[in-house]
Symmetry: D2
Subunit: 336 residues, 4 copies
């Protein structure tokens, strides 16, 4: 941690600051420049918050040197995490394709879709039972009944299930779920994250719409700090000034995360763009950029979907996408 | 609602679309242009979701004409809502100043601060007991004990209490709280919003860091649709490319909201900027722009605050700010 | 300047780095931590670019400590600059109101508008002769003829003229212009800025749509470094995710700039919001926040304006706005 | 174009509006709803600006239905444009790799780099002679001398030259340049774009940091409307809230542009990220997403580069990247 003092700071005030810092158990190293005095801190700075130091009058600003996340940090855990979910591996060279409808709507819809996904090479079934919707007047999912239908589809196909949890009270229905998805809007629902740290299922943590990569890793850290280290990160588009597509798919975050964390990272081009026609080329790019998996919305009849039809592709289109995804996985040395 | 068809749409396909729309209970009016066909919808379009229509092959895009929020809409409720919280009114010409520390830390701290706030003319005491923190390793508030200390300060000063709720399980401790604050990160925690609609306390709904004004009103709509119409909106800065201050304080949203909703709107320059030195001038601007109130962080000793010290002002600075706020309230015809 | 070395950096590599830095004429102070080595630089670091140091293999990143702008920096020039433009002062307690139509359209239009602006208390006439337009098919202004009409209006009213320059070749027509405006899209047209540094007229430098405050000050520095220190900054809205209004009016930048630079800063609520109905309240807020002036679009008949009618207010509305602006100027101790 | 009238609009006012519109040569079709009246316009709406209509009192807002760009529009020019630059083709299945240093620094530097680029399979030499720099105190390029050195490298290798033009006055030195690059900061320098429309060299138009895809196409339209249809678009990162990398590389814009325009589109991962370590994986993703080319910064000794060293890769790293780029080009059916 580095502290930059104001030009107006007096020698005595700087001495006071050094004193305060020493008392906090770190070793301050002042460097006296012509216009500013800089104080470098050595030792365990993890309990010193930048904002607290910034509240001190003579401090102009504070810059952190080390990352605030530890359990998720590749520096301290150089080996890639491989998550095992319902017998299927993600990360460390294993590529996951999680596909399925935005919402579970009926037994026929979910079972038929699951079969086709499996036939095309998908290895997870995704589907929403509890649905976060911007409007209180929109369809909010079949809830517990939706989970039951997902289980039927799992029984038929053997595909492990990925589905979203919106509130800890619903956890009772998630016994047969293989991966619990936390949606973008709940990425900083810290109470929920803390509780998820206590459950023993892999967590798929979607990036918040306007959250930095560091905040995202801090949310993963929340889950890990409570005891659950099976976290999968999922990029699903960030909010920017560009509105031609629903969001801006931040593919660069994937190779960057590779240098920051050992956790697996997947990409979701369906939600990122909101447009079915973008899914094919962006799925290929997601493999090319080094992701550990893909999440793709597939619906037997997108025109009649109860939610997010505009971004769903048909099982036939999915089959076509998978043919290319497989070719790219071979080039990238990924097992699918 | 307006539907724009693709150039490639055939006459028969457009007829099919008109048929589908009629079946949904709305009246479609097609306009045939040279390059596009446009379909205007008349009638109750509230149950038709743009994204569902956009999933139809021949549809290029869909534009909504009416706002998706109804209970919060000024069109249908032209009279300004006046919220009564613990005997103090907000909105409709009544100006609220909610002041206090980011975190409740001790009895002395909160009671002394409350007394000074009251003496300077503040009419609400704010203070955090349950604290959302980006890092799992940071101080997360005194929790239930913090609420008890807030109640002591209320007993001493008579100031109604505003404090944040992070999870519905904590509601049991909020009996003596006057206004429940929902933080920016929970603005789209729909399960929580739905539950809050069932409680009979005013809700202060902070705008999410990257949420549009429309999404914000839809979250208010969630609370209102469940039965609680006492919602106060609070602008607290949005996330943009500019990082010179913590966030960008979107003051323009206040006069704009005035034309969209009857709900009271307040501004929080402390959180929006993260810098104590910005609070004075932005507080004045918040009054000037027509807000119904202010939220300001005040701490007896910002340098020793356990959270967000950098943005807190001292009680002395608060007194100075209030002198100007009062002058501006007179110019604006607000009762403080 | 502070250099943070990678964890993997070897002692010999760090010695090489220190050597390189010493040769560049600065004094490096290494601080050896457990996980990182930090090097603080003392001396004249103005010629060392962060990005060059970051290219060195063992360097993780580089953080600047001092601002990269000097002539515009309040640290080195603590007295507020007062710009004199055509006999009217801006800055240092003098408040400027620059009003007029987006485009000059006819003699009658501009002369009548100028008279009304003067009568209401405006002290500058603004009007576009050379117009930047997003579409090559839109009206691009009356050009040299527009400037002639502005001069007529100036003769009639005595109001100094503010108008935009789009290319240095047009400077020949600007002899009687009092303030040269550089539009948001040209804020980083460095060739143009360098040339403007050689002319002896005040420059009104609008902030680019997505430019940081620091970049904006660096553009002012370009003009100043070439010899012209009469620069007025103008905030006109930044581009963010929020699209309810044309841009997000970043009012917080005004008190922040006050602490960074001695140059006058004005605000333009008309362009920032694109909506006439927002101008009144945001004009008041601009005064409240401490600006040195306002730019407001006024058109005798906004519905028939050839450009940007939606954001123009009528002379009658302007008169009403000015009544409040004057009251706020008195509260703020500004001379108008 | 669709006009949405305010709820308060009276029948007579709507009749007036229809009259005005008819006089402008378009055919208005009113649809009377319960809460709003919508007017659809049929006919040539290209001369009607949305903002002018929005200035009319009873108008709530205006939504465009057709794109405002015509020459760049794939609807009217369904065949992909293939640009021929110095004998090398770009677009329509031909893949371009433009590589070279940020700045031309010396004969040896540029000639040696060019030879290695050619050997690795690059087919264009890029290098900056006129350099836009944020600071007036930074190195601004060798200017005319830099162009002379580029020509030497071209003579030695046969690689066509791509280099940036910052002001129309410099065009005199560009006789032997094969592709004129317009930088992000000049994307809306409309005077410059208009002049470039009159020259007969291909223009590489970089996307502005905060410009929408539509604005970008409108800038291409400016060049094309003045007579030059050889425009190549180049995505180089947009400015968002995320600062972990220099910009956010908007790869989704490439498949989207494919549906909007017939112009070739390339990607520049070096500038987009500012980090050499990101170039490899993002280059592959750029091919995967369907781009017509890549721009990559290559410098023989990034640590000693006079500008942007942190984002340059060595010729050896470039050779490694090209091996993968070629494999991906084969999968995508691109000729390189």
């Amino acid at each position: 941690m580095i502290i930059i003092c104001k030009k107006s700071a007096k020698e005595a005030e700087i001495q006071d600051l050094l004193e305060i810092l020493s008392q906090k158990g770190v070793e301050p190293h002042p460097i006296y420049g012509e216009t500013e005095t800089i104080v470098g801190l050595v030792g365990d700075t993890s309990k010193i918050l930048a904002e607290d130091i910034e509240a001190i009058d003579i401090v102009k600003n504070v810059k952190r040197v080390s990352e605030p996340f530890k359990l998720a940090n590749i520096k301290f855990h150089p080996n890639q995490t491989v998550v095992d979910a319902g017998g299927v591996k993600i990360g460390g060279g294993n590529f996951a394709v999680m596909a399925g409808p935005c919402s579970v709507e009926s037994e026929e819809q979910i079972v038929e879709t699951a079969k086709k996904i499996k036939a095309s090479g998908g290895n997870f079934l995704r589907g929403g039972a509890f649905k976060p919707r911007t409007s209180p007047y929109a369809f909010r999912g079949l809830k517990a009944e939706g989970l039951r239908l997902l289980e039927l589809a799992k029984k038929e196909t053997g595909l492990p299930i990925v589905t979203e949890l919106m509130a800890i009270e619903h956890l009772q229905y998630f016994d047969n779920v293989d991966v619990i998805q936390i949606g973008a809007r709940n990425m900083q629902n810290f109470e929920l994250l803390t509780e998820l740290g206590k459950c023993n299922k892999p967590i798929l943590l979607k990036r918040g719409l306007a959250n930095t990569i560091e905040e995202w890793l801090m949310s993963a850290e929340y889950i890990m700090a409570s005891g659950n280290t099976d976290v999968i990160l999922c990029e699903r588009g960030i909010r920017t000034f560009e509105t031609a597509l629903r969001n801006t798919y931040d593919l660069s975050c994937i190779p960057l995360l590779r240098k920051m964390t050992h956790l697996p990272v997947i990409g979701d081009p369906s939600h990122a763009t909101g447009k079915a026609a973008m899914v094919h080329s962006l799925s290929k790019a997601t493999v090319a950029v080094g992701a550990d998996g893909l999440m793709i919305e597939v619906h037997p009849n997108p025109q009649k979907a109860l939610s997010d039809g505009a971004q769903s592709i048909t099982p036939e289109a999915f089959d076509y996408v998978m043919k290319d995804v497989k070719k790219y996985c071979i080039l990238e040395g990924k097992l699918l």
